[in-house]
Amino acid sequence: MALYKLKINGRDYRADVDPDTPLLWVLRDSLGLAGTKYGCGIAMCGACTVHVNGEAARSCVLPVSSLANAKITTIEGLSATGDHPVQQAWDETDVPQCGYCQAGQIMMAAALLKRNPKPSGEEIDTAMAGNLCRCGTYHRIREAIQSAANKIR
């Protein structure tokens, strides 16, 4: 066990955990930030997507010891009130079915739009192909990303 300082959603956190603990479990078990989901633990589903220094990352395979000085954003920090354009588009398009994958989808989409504010359909598919939705909400995910992109413009 060791003490780690983390900068998450603009706040300072401390966690006393084993160095190999993935960020995902630090968020969920130690810090009470359960919005970031577990789906596979091997970077194959995207449910655990967060932003590390502004880029999308799979928190299930990021050891906490590798995150000194990193700026981390989770779904709770994207916008606590749900007014980020991507969150708004998700609500307006009524994307969530069971909802479990959606925090990861939203974080992935937000990172995509930051990097590429006008993605083509193909670019959306490529960026989002790592995020599984078992309920099959993919059509609405596409639609919501397009509508968020229109709004951001």
Binding site: D18, D94, C98, C135, G136, H139
Partner: protein, 719 residues
């Protein structure tokens, strides 16, 4: 109006004034249990008034401020029930949807019925009672307004949470009237709205949990946290057919954060302070397993299928006419076999549950499609009365049938009992994929006898399953439309556990049957749509035996799908047709395949669905789109194989699921017929596989008879 003590016909409604002076109505409400609900994740506060102001024996309450709280008793698994149920209540109440707050009710078999998420049965079961709940409250509010304004009830109307006196325009809000209305007797006969006056039902209404979902609130079972709880993971036998021989837990126990390692039945549980620590310690367990039954491989199953299909004895499920004679007299016989593999359910939230076994009972919290089963099994295991077990349902990250079982609940209970602490049991994805209760592997053999005109005069189906039970649905189409028919099944008992998987049996049977009918139509030289319509005409004119589907409704979706897809009129794409009746709803689909760089690509799927009244357009459309994505994904890619009793795929790196770049366009149409609504959680899935396979056949000339399609030679050969 009748007096409250002179109960209505079925003793349906009773009333109680809440502590806060609001009106509470419930179904089968007997007496106040006095227990204040502990709402999962504290969502009770959204009601706008103190949580203890509401009596829990109710479906709906109205606060003096006009906030209408509607309790949704059925588990929410992504089927949208937590939104659909309140819409139905609010419709006949004439509530202002913006003032409605929805809360998940815990398990309560006295107040509620059928708190189950499964079989697409929630809506048909509850449609009438939910409407009556709303209408009764509305009538009481109008009565209260009539007394207050001293006018006849007949002069009053309601709109959006307000009672209006039409002649004078005077208005009273439901909130203002709630306290008075609560004291009134229960009306025995309430008038339900005319469908043409519906304001909410049939609209697009957003998921009531959108905001907490998109802001990452802890809604799901895996998110549940209780101060002082321990985390647990269970090591189960690594293959089906093995049992526990010995455990050396010394290393695991000595690892940081580990509180205990306990053994029950054939399982070893590691209990500790965090998920990661118990996961690592579990890997450090040294366990020996020994055989207790045969350990089967997929290759064994393939041999078994041949045996089961070939053996003379099988359980006869339906027999009409003289099938042997029909085949002897046939001008043409078509014969084909279709096979599907085992599938895990793979809800994105793996199995998990919270249990706290105390001396005086047990508390359960978590994702379950069958809270009552969870409670009863827990009571049985602990040897206590079911009343001593409470169950709160969290939102579920999908279920697809896996959470109809209680095995994972009982694991949490066992561990909590053994370590004497509140425990959250967590399955990893690997546990979820290898932990059993799969969609069974099945192989079907179909035979059709045609006369000289190409009419299907004989039909034979044998289902061979591995732990599939009756792998047929003997009364489904085309039964009733064929004079001579024989449907039977044979099953192999395997240590590999199986269970219901979204649209049980029909999830693959529909694919096989609708593909086979396509083959028969082709052999008869008939258009596949025309061929099906002819069979239905025959079933109408000269029905054979029992017919369990509505012929006209099935024709309705066939025609609608054909019309919307421009069936038979498109040159640029190859179309495939499929129609299926399951879980009381009818869905027809047309898939379109185009060749792209020499490869067939499924471009688009049209769906025509008849589920009666569409309660929520947005939710219903998504159920159909999601069902199609699910149906196509599993038909194309899903494959769980076994070697010596162990699943060979353990996570999403080796088990393939459909992704966003692999989906076709989907266009959904509903039949608008005003019939009482039926479910939609399952019926859109069964037809998809065949629509896709039939379109692929049209495009490539190759029949895909085995799933997963993507791994078949027929598709590989196309380039």
């Amino acid at each position: 109006m009748k007096n409250g003590t002179n109960q209505s016909r079925r003793n349906f409604f009773r009333q109680a004034a809440t502590a806060g002076g609001g009106l509470v109505l419930g179904f089968n409400w007997l007496e106040t249990s006095g227990s204040v609900p502990s709402i999962v994740n504290g969502t009770a506060s959204v009601a706008g008034t103190a949580a203890d102001a509401f009596d829990f024996n109710s479906y709906l309450s109205i606060s003096p401020k006009g906030i209408i709280t509607i309790f949704s008793p059925n588990p929410e698994v992504g089927q949208g029930i937590k939104t659909a149920f309140p819409i139905i209540v609010a419709e006949d109440l004439d509530a202002d949807w913006k003032a409605v707050k929805v809360l998940q009710a815990p398990l309560d078999t006295i107040k509620f019925q059928r708190q189950v998420a499964g079989g697409s049965g929630s809506i048909p079961h509850s449609w009438k009672r939910l409407r009556e709940a709303g209408a009764t409250a509305r009538q009481m509010l109008m009565q209260a307004a009539a007394s207050r304004l001293n006018v006849p009830v007949a002069e009053l109307t309601t709109q959006k949470g307000v009672v209006v006196h039409t002649p004078t325009g005077r208005k009273l809000t439901y909130g203002e009237l709630a306290a008075d209305a609560a004291k009134l007797p229960i009306p025995a006969d309430v008038k339900l709205k005319d469908q043409k006056d519906f304001k909410l039902i049939g609209q697009s209404i957003k998921n009531v949990d959108n905001l907490p979902i998109i802001t990452g609130k802890p809604l799901f079972g895996l998110d549940f946290y209780r101060e002082g709880m321990l985390f647990a993971m269970v090591q189960r036998p690594v293959a089906f057919g093995l049992k526990l021989k010995s455990v050396d837990a010394a290393t695991a126990k000595a690892m940081p954060g580990i509180v205990d390692v306990v053994t029950f039945k054939n399982s070893v549980a590691v209990v500790g302070k965090s998920t990661w620590q118990v996961k690592k310690a579990r890997e450090a367990l040294k366990i020996e397993w020994e055989k207790e039954a045969g350990t089967e491989s997929t290759a064994d199953h393939n041999k078994l299928f041949a045996q089961l299909l070939g053996q003379p004895d099988a359980t006869v499920r339906r027999k009409d006419g003289n099938v042997e004679e029909a085949f002897r007299n046939a001008a043409k016989v078509v014969k084909s076999e279709y096979q599907c593999p085992f599938l895990p359910h793979s809800p994105l939230e793996p199995m998990n549950f919270f249990a706290h076994v105390r001396a005086d009972g047990a508390e359960l919290v978590g994702p379950t499609q069958t809270p009552e089963l969870a409670r009863n099994e827990t009571a049985k295991l602990l040897g206590i009365p079911p009343e001593k077990v409470t169950v709160e349902m969290t939102r579920m990250g999908g279920g697809f049938g896996r959470r109809l079982k209680a095995d994972f609940v009982l694991e949490a209970v066992e561990v909590s009992r053994l370590v004497k602490a509140p425990v959250k049991l967590i399955w990893t994805r690997e546990d979820d994929m290898t932990g059993g209760s799969y969609r069974p592997a099945v192989r079907y053999r179909f035979e059709a006898a045609l006369d000289v005109q190409g009419n299907m005069i004989g039909y034979k189906l044998r289902g061979a399953g591995i732990n599939a039970g009756n792998s047929t649905r003997e009364n489904n189409f085309p039964s009733g439309a064929v004079d001579h028919l024989l449907i039977d099944s044979a099953d192999h008992k395997s240590p590999i556990t199986t269970g219901p998987w979204r649209a049980p049996v029909t999830n693959f049977l529909a694919c096989a049957e609708q593909s086979f009918l396509d083959e028969v139509a082709f052999a008869a030289g008939k258009d596949p749509v025309q061929f099906r319509l002819e069979l239905l005409d025959k079933a109408k004119k000269a029905p054979v035996g029992e017919i369990k589907y509505d012929i006209d409704r099935m024709k309705g979706v066939i025609r609608l799908a054909a019309e919307k897809s421009g069936w038979g009129r498109k040159k640029e794409v190859a179309q495939g047709f499929s129609v299926y009746f399951s879980h009381a709803s009818y869905v027809a689909q047309v898939a379109e395949v185009a060749m792209q760089k020499g490869k067939p690509v499924v471009r688009k799927i049209y769906a025509a669905a008849d589920c009666g009244v569409v309660v929520n357009q947005s939710g219903a459309r998504q159920q159909v789109m999601g069902g199609i994505v699910d149906g196509m994904g599993h038909a194309m890619y899903g494959n769980l194989t076994f070697r010596d009793g162990a699943p060979e795929q353990t996570n999403f790196n080796s088990y393939r699921m459909i992704r966003i770049n692999e989906i076709p366009q989907v266009e959904v149409h509903f039949v608008d017929n005003g019939i009482e609504p039926t479910g939609l959680g399952e019926p859109a899935l069964p037809p998809t596989g065949a629509a896709v396979a039939n379109a692929l056949f049209k495009a490539t000339g190759k029949r895909l008879r085995n799933q997963p399609f993507a791994e078949q030679e027929e598709l590989k050969g196309v380039s």
